[in-house]
């Protein structure tokens, strides 16, 4: 009798508990993600702004404002996605399924390029290949007497190369994880049946990993079309515009309406492609990996191709990691990028202001703007790591514990919505959203708060995913028994879920930290001179011809990113099963 009443009470508490929690999470997500997007769309339908739609889509400006940038954007998306799937797939195959030498090293290096900000690679490209088309300093190759043609120095080709070398490591991570789950029984059965390597690849490995390939391809596509830094640094000097550089340019010169329209169209395009990718994957559910613990298959013996393939892999990896870092480092010391390795000076790092040197800009250690930007950037990273993990944990806890109902479904869908929104469009949406006062709330333009809120929202797909992985590690039984003994939601979270999940949470938080401190596309529009962040300063120095300062700042960001990433990897070593033997 007493048991029954406790249960009934428990159920009531559960019901109330769940409803409130779900409602709170849903409201938070709407405030963070849905409202900014709606507000942006509404802005463009105001009577004096609505003409922007026809300007962009049909007027005489539309070709340069939209269709040409659209063409460039799509070309970048398709080629980079294809290139990334090939490179990432090749490396993943080498590391997971073959006996190539130094598999571990290849595996670690393959995950690294994504940790290097894409503008770092673009800057490095400039230091190396820049020719004299736009004046100013030429790059090292031109300095060595080589005549670098325009197509190699600027525009589409370098943009494609830099972006592919950046995003392939995203593809690698996804494909390697999928390959690692290919059940050895399948492969062995095929081998026993006499199937050859090619047959095994086409008949078993590819179908099983198709979802991962599609996922990798569509994520690389979405990343490439929304990337801002690389086309801005390498494309603008030859008047190559993409949708993201157009969006930035329009907002910077105050043509906000046209900018927002371009942003909305960019969101729709990324969303369409990710949706198509998703459809393709979900249609092939029957290929889901077969459960059960099969042993790891015997590795494919490369025989004589071991070392040549190793060499190919190393060329790709060194040119996407070590080479750009060396160039950036060298060019942050070299007064002239034409002579990267001579006349080194530490003035760009620790020099005092000297009117006859670089327009009197002091070295970055003594530059108050940069020191301030460093503080703002680090504070932003830490703040977003906390807020992101809190919201991510709340959302994933809610959907994991209360799986049914439209609210949970809505929470899941909304929390992944930012994946479809390119960072620069998200930044634009936040200016429309919080740039002016809302009722009693003051405007947040130019404040630290707007950076934190926008970044938290922008990274929610990532933090929710991390949160979900963490929640799933913590068995539901423990939490349930605590609930039965009457512990409140906060109590349960504080004494069971969080302590058990602290490693995973810290690792997730650190990765969020890394993602935001090296981000440029989100913050480039939210930046104000009084609230500077490092990546935007680096971008501005680079576009004003002070490459050395830009490179020095980038090295600082890189150093912090890599250190934090290594720390996170230590905390969650288990998440890279393909590195285990």
């Amino acid at each position: 009798m007493s048991d029954a009443s406790l249960n009934a009470q428990g159920r009531r508490v559960l019901f109330r508990d769940g409803t409130i929690l779900k409602a709170v999470v849903l409201i938070i997500l709407c405030l963070l993600i849905v409202l900014p997007l709606i507000r942006t769309v509404l802005f463009t339908f105001q009577p004096d702004v609505i003409k922007a739609w026809s300007d962009v889509l049909t007027g005489r400006l539309s070709r340069n404002l939209f269709y040409k940038p659209l063409g460039n954007t799509m070309l970048i998306g398709v080629i980079v996605a294809t290139g990334c799937m090939l490179l990432g797939g090749f490396l993943a195959w080498l590391v997971v399924m073959t006996n190539v030498p130094f598999r571990r090293t290849i595996g670690i290096l393959s995950a690294l390029p994504f940790m290097i900000p894409s503008f770092a690679a673009a800057l490095a490209w400039g230091s190396l290949f820049r020719n004299d088309r736009v004046g100013g300093q030429v790059g090292w190759l031109q300095g060595m007497g080589l005549d670098v043609p325009d197509w190699l120095a600027w525009g589409m080709v370098p943009t494609l190369i830099v972006l592919t070398l950046h995003y392939f490591s995203l593809a690698f991570t996804i494909i390697a994880a999928a390959l690692a789950t290919v059940n050895s029984d399948l492969v062995e059965a095929a081998q026993i049946a006499g199937a050859k390597g090619r047959r095994i690849l086409m008949g078993i490995v590819l179908p099983v990993t198709t979802p991962a390939l599609v996922a990798a391809g569509s994520l690389c596509f979405a990343g490439a079309v929304s990337n801002f830094a690389t086309p801005a640094l390498l494309g603008l000097p030859v008047r190559m515009q993409t949708l993201s550089t157009r969006l930035f340019g329009m907002i910077e010169v105050g043509q906000v309406g046209r900018g927002y329209v371009i942003g909305i169209l960019l969101v729709l395009i990324s969303a369409a492609f990710l949706w198509i990718g998703n459809r393709a994957v979900s249609g092939r559910r029957s290929y889901a990996t077969i459960t059960g613990k099969g042993g790891r298959a015997r590795r494919f013996d490369l025989r004589g191709a071991r070392w040549p393939l190793f060499a190919v892999a190393m060329v790709i990896l060194l040119s996407s990691t070590v080479v750009p870092i060396i160039i950036l480092l060298a060019s942050s010391f070299a007064p002239s990028s034409a002579n990267l390795f001579s006349n080194w000076t530490s003035a760009y790092w620790v020099g005092l202001s000297d009117p006859s040197f670089a327009q009197g800009i002091p070295g970055i250690a003594y530059n108050p703007d940069i020191v301030r930007a460093l503080i703002v950037t680090l504070s932003l990273g830490i703040a977003v790591a906390f807020t992101g993990m809190i919201v991510g944990l709340l959302a994933s806890y809610t959907t994991a514990r209360y799986r049914t109902g439209w609210v949970s479904a809505a929470i899941t869908q909304i929390s992944f919505l930012p994946l479809l929104v390119p960072g620069i469009a998200f930044g634009a949406a936040y200016i429309a959203y919080l740039g002016a006062p809302i009722g009693p709330f003051p405007a947040l333009y130019g404040t630290f708060a707007i950076l934190v809120i926008a970044a938290t929202a922008y990274l929610l797909p990532f933090s929710v995913q991390t949160g979900r992985a963490v929640i799933q590690q913590v068995g539901g039984e423990l939490e349930e028994s605590a609930r039965i003994t009457g512990a409140s939601f906060l109590r349960r979270l504080a004494s069971i879920t969080v302590p058990l999940a602290i490693r995973g949470l810290s690792a997730g938080g650190i990765l969020i930290f890394v993602k935001i401190i090296r981000d440029l596309s989100l913050v480039v529009l939210l930046f104000t001179p009084t609230m500077p962040v490092l990546s935007v300063l680096a971008y501005r120095y680079a576009s004003e011809g002070f490459g050395q300062f830009a490179n020095a700042i980038t090295i600082v960001i890189l150093f912090i990113s890599i250190a934090a990433t290594l720390l996170a990897n230590r905390l969650q070593r288990k998440s890279q099963p393909w590195l285990e033997d």
Partner: protein
């Protein structure tokens, strides 16, 4: 200084400012009267369209210890966008606005009350009225055609703007993207406004009347031909300067930049010189505006900065004007002698812009440029 002291000083300062504002005296105060109030305010933020704000910052802090001048080098176009966004948000980040691009600043910042005029009483009788109203101009700046005088020691390699549309200059004319920098859009607009002069110059150059070929006027035709001739757009004037002015070039390009950038020839290794004799004009000359933000956080220090930017009582204006007392900048203070190395203002052939007329068709020209890119 301890924190306690700083707080106390700040509080006193705010009280004092309050009373000064209430009396309406602050606009008539001398620098000596402003100084203690400014020191209590502690810091002042300046948005500046020129990188020379770095030098001003050092000179100001040396002249008035205890006041931290925080200078930001932001292009005029970006300043306008930011100031409008900040005003809409109710945020006042800047105290002093040092900006060009008058055709946009006057209607969109001054008339909307985002910035407010201030003329330091100390120099009011030595600045001609046309430069005091509706807002103070500190100097006249330029965007003109410059060439490399090392490679062309006998004068500019072109004698007409229309030369730039000839084949020999294909891919060898530089300018900053007019959609990124308003000064360059003003230049394009002025060329259209001066279509009659452009048509005459065309006839002189090519010996026949201009065939508009679909363009609305000679100015638009010139812009279209210029872009069609692989005009190179860069993102900052320093890129133009380095490309055009760099020493040791056999066949340097030519480009539109600030006449005053000639001041850096020695430091940077450039040989920039203005093509003053080019027909019909080498470019434009326009005011550099200095104003207060509508509600400055540091009202006294802001006024002190503007006073400082107008120069002191010495012959060439002292440290505040030193960064601007250079060939190619034309100071508005009537009592300061023109820079000896520059073409005198009377002989300088650049067009003087009329902000209102420019503002009228500026957006249209912006759209034209957009279709050409």
């Amino acid at each position: 200084m301890t924190k306690m002291n700083a707080t106390r000083l700040g509080a006193i300062g705010i009280l004092m400012c309050g009373s000064a504002l209430a009396d309406g005296h602050i606009d008539t105060m001398t620098p000596a009267e402003l100084l203690p109030l400014a020191q209590a305010e502690g810091s002042v933020t300046v948005y500046s369209f020129t990188s020379r704000i770095g030098k001003v910052e050092a000179a100001f802090e040396a002249a008035y210890p205890g006041i931290d001048l925080i200078g930001f080098d932001i292009s005029s176009t970006e300043q306008i966008a930011r100031l409008k966004a900040e005003a809409q948000a109710g945020v006042a980040n800047a105290d002093v606005i040092y900006v060009s691009d008058a055709p946009v600043v006057l209607p969109e910042l001054l008339e909307t009350g985002i910035i407010a005029p201030y003329v330091p009483p100390r120099v009011a009788d030595r600045v001609p009225a046309e430069f005091q109203s509706p807002v103070l101009a500190q100097r006249l700046s330029t965007k003109v055609l410059m060439y490399n005088e090392e490679a062309s020691p006998d004068g500019a390699p072109v004698d007409s703007l229309w030369d730039l549309t000839r084949e020999e200059w294909t891919g060898r004319v530089l300018m900053v993207d007019p959609l990124q920098r308003g000064d360059y859009l003003d230049l394009m607009t002025e060329i259209v406004l001066r279509s009659d002069e452009m048509a005459v110059a065309y006839e002189v150059e090519f010996g026949m009347a201009i065939d508009l070929d679909g363009a609305a006027n000679a100015g638009e035709k010139f812009i279209m031909d210029l872009f069609a001739n692989d005009l190179i757009l860069v993102s900052s004037t320093d890129d133009v300067n380095a490309a055009v002015g760099g020493l040791g070039q056999e066949n340097p390009p030519i480009g539109f930049t600030s006449y005053s950038d000639r001041r850096d020839n020695e430091e940077e290794g450039w040989a920039l010189q203005v093509a003053n004799d080019v027909a019909p004009a080498p470019g434009i000359i326009f005011p550099a505006i200095v104003a207060l933000s509508a509600e400055p956080n540091s009202p006294a220090a802001a006024r002190l900065v503007i006073d400082f930017l107008m120069g002191d009582e010495s012959e060439t204006g002292g440290p505040g004007l030193a960064p601007f007392y250079v060939a190619g900048d034309y100071l508005t203070r009537s009592d300061i002698a023109p820079h000896p190395d520059a073409v005198s203002l009377d002989d300088f052939t650049a067009w003087r812009i009329a902000p209102a007329a420019t503002a009228e068709i500026r957006a249209e020209i912006g759209d034209l440029v957009l279709t050409l890119q």
